[in-house]
């Protein structure tokens, strides 16, 4: 009993860790198989793990609602890049501008604050109204998800820059553009990249939401079609694909973040 608080934080040996991890994984898969086999629900509602993996591979080679899984993924990713790129292209310069100009700050902040609390997904009706089922709708939703973290982090990162550097730059007669690009921007890069990670996550997730409602291709659309025909293994394959791509995006940005903070 005594000293348990310390004991419980002792590192496990490699073997213990491996055994427990394997136990945990097999308990999960075992329970899943068990539930699927005793037939609490028909198989179309709860396929076995193996069914899902098989479905994942068939979807990768055979088209489903117009495209293979990778086709849908490519279409989703294309939208993601456009929305995310737009958010970065507007958010970073605007954040820097707000940090250097009180006027811009005063104008943008209230507009931004009133829009920020609207969940990105709530823009879907306007997205549909303005862009139909075209490319613009999902891009708008991703933008709404990805934009706030980029702007906030750029702004905060620039605000933390030591005033001395700014004063030096201004007194030496640097233009606003040069202060933004040569003083604020380099100093704010770590904060900006941290913001990019958050906004990529939010953007990817908003995209999936948008595709569930207003799209005619993409992984989200594929899942909705699977849902409508009660094809649970297709829905689960979609979740798997979304999870993997989201994870890859995050790993990529984390590598960039590590590289940036090492400098």
């Amino acid at each position: 009993m005594e000293g348990y608080a310390i004991n419980s934080l002792h590192e496990l040996s490699r073997r213990q860790w491996l055994v427990l991890t394997l136990l945990g994984a097999s308990a999960f898969i075992g329970l899943w198989y068990f539930l699927a086999f005793i037939g609490v629900t028909p198989q179309k509602f709860l396929p076995t793990p193996l069914d899902v993996v098989q479905r994942f591979f068939t979807l990768s080679t055979e088209p489903f609602v117009g495209m293979t899984l990778f086709g849908h993924l490519a279409s989703s990713f294309h939208r993601f890049l456009s929305g995310f790129g737009l958010a970065v292209a507007i958010g970073v310069p605007l954040g820097l501008l707000m940090a250097t100009s009180k006027v811009v700050d005063r104008i943008v902040t209230p507009l931004f604050e009133s829009i920020r609390f609207v969940a990105p997904i709530a823009w879907i009706p306007f997205a549909a109204l303005w862009f139909g089922t075209g490319m613009g709708g999902p891009v708008l939703i991703i933008f709404m998800g990805a934009f706030p973290p980029v702007l906030i982090n750029t702004y905060r990162g620039s605000k933390y820059v030591d005033v001395k550097y700014l004063e030096a730059a201004w007194t030496l007669g640097a233009s606003r553009f040069r202060v933004m690009t040569e003083v604020l921007m380099p100093a704010a890069v770590p904060s900006i990249v941290a913001g990019l990670r958050v906004s990529a996550g939010l953007g990817w997730q908003s995209l999936v939401g948008a595709e569930l409602i207003a799209a005619s291709s993409g992984v989200g659309y594929m899942m909705v079609k699977g849902q409508q025909s009660i094809d649970t293994s297709t829905v689960m394959s979609g979740m798997l694909a979304i999870g993997i791509v989201g994870l890859l995006i995050d790993i990529l940005l984390r590598k960039i973040q590590e590289r940036v903070s090492q400098r």
Binding site: W17, L20, F117, L129, L247
Partner: protein, 257 residues
Amino acid sequence: MNAVKNILNVLVSVAGVLLVWLTLTTWTGIIEPNRFPNPMEFWVSLKQIALQGYGNGKLHQHILQSVILVTTSFLVASTAGVTLGLLMGASRRIEAFVNPVFLTLRPIPPLAWIPLAIVWLGLDNSAKVMVIFVAAFVPSVINSYAAVRSIETPILEASAMLGIRRWLHWKEVLIPASLPLIFTGLRLSLQASWTTLVAAELIGALLGLGSILNQAAQDIYPAMILVGMFSVAVCGWLMTVLLGLIERSAMPWRATP
């Protein structure tokens, strides 16, 4: 003095936003009325839904439906999530056992669970409870876990050396030290729950703020779309403020910023 200044600032900002809005719609017509409503249309629609109702209910019925659903599911999910997170933080064995499942499910965004929830549970409340649960669970676990792990070892060693009992160790050391990060997790959980619920209601619901959006989109009724978005934002904001108040009263020893 500061409070007065803050209120004045807010009033000026609101007036500014209204002014920009009026200029773009009513006065110059840069934005066409069938694309985005002007303030007058917004007001008329707000009155319509509050007094006569729209899409199966009046505004307060929609709000109650969404807010009650989100609060109860959020409470259940975050209680479960915080408990699991604390356990994972306090014991390496539990962490090793749970991690493979948790790490697999974690990258799947909450919104991606909606189709599965509909397949399993249909369009009624239980499907929404399921997606809110998933949305709120993950951030609670991650942050409470990180909270326990970030407690400095000397504190744990001191409490162990003094021969503290197990439940007192939790009550007096682990949980209070973890509270700040736990609340960070709760705030993320609440935001995720709210977004997910709105999305789920957009896809299929008879009542709720998301269903206003869906109905208004089908009727091509821009002013009502804006009323829906406005209500979503105000409710989300109010819940965040409320959680902030709870956070402050839960940790009286922290200096208020």
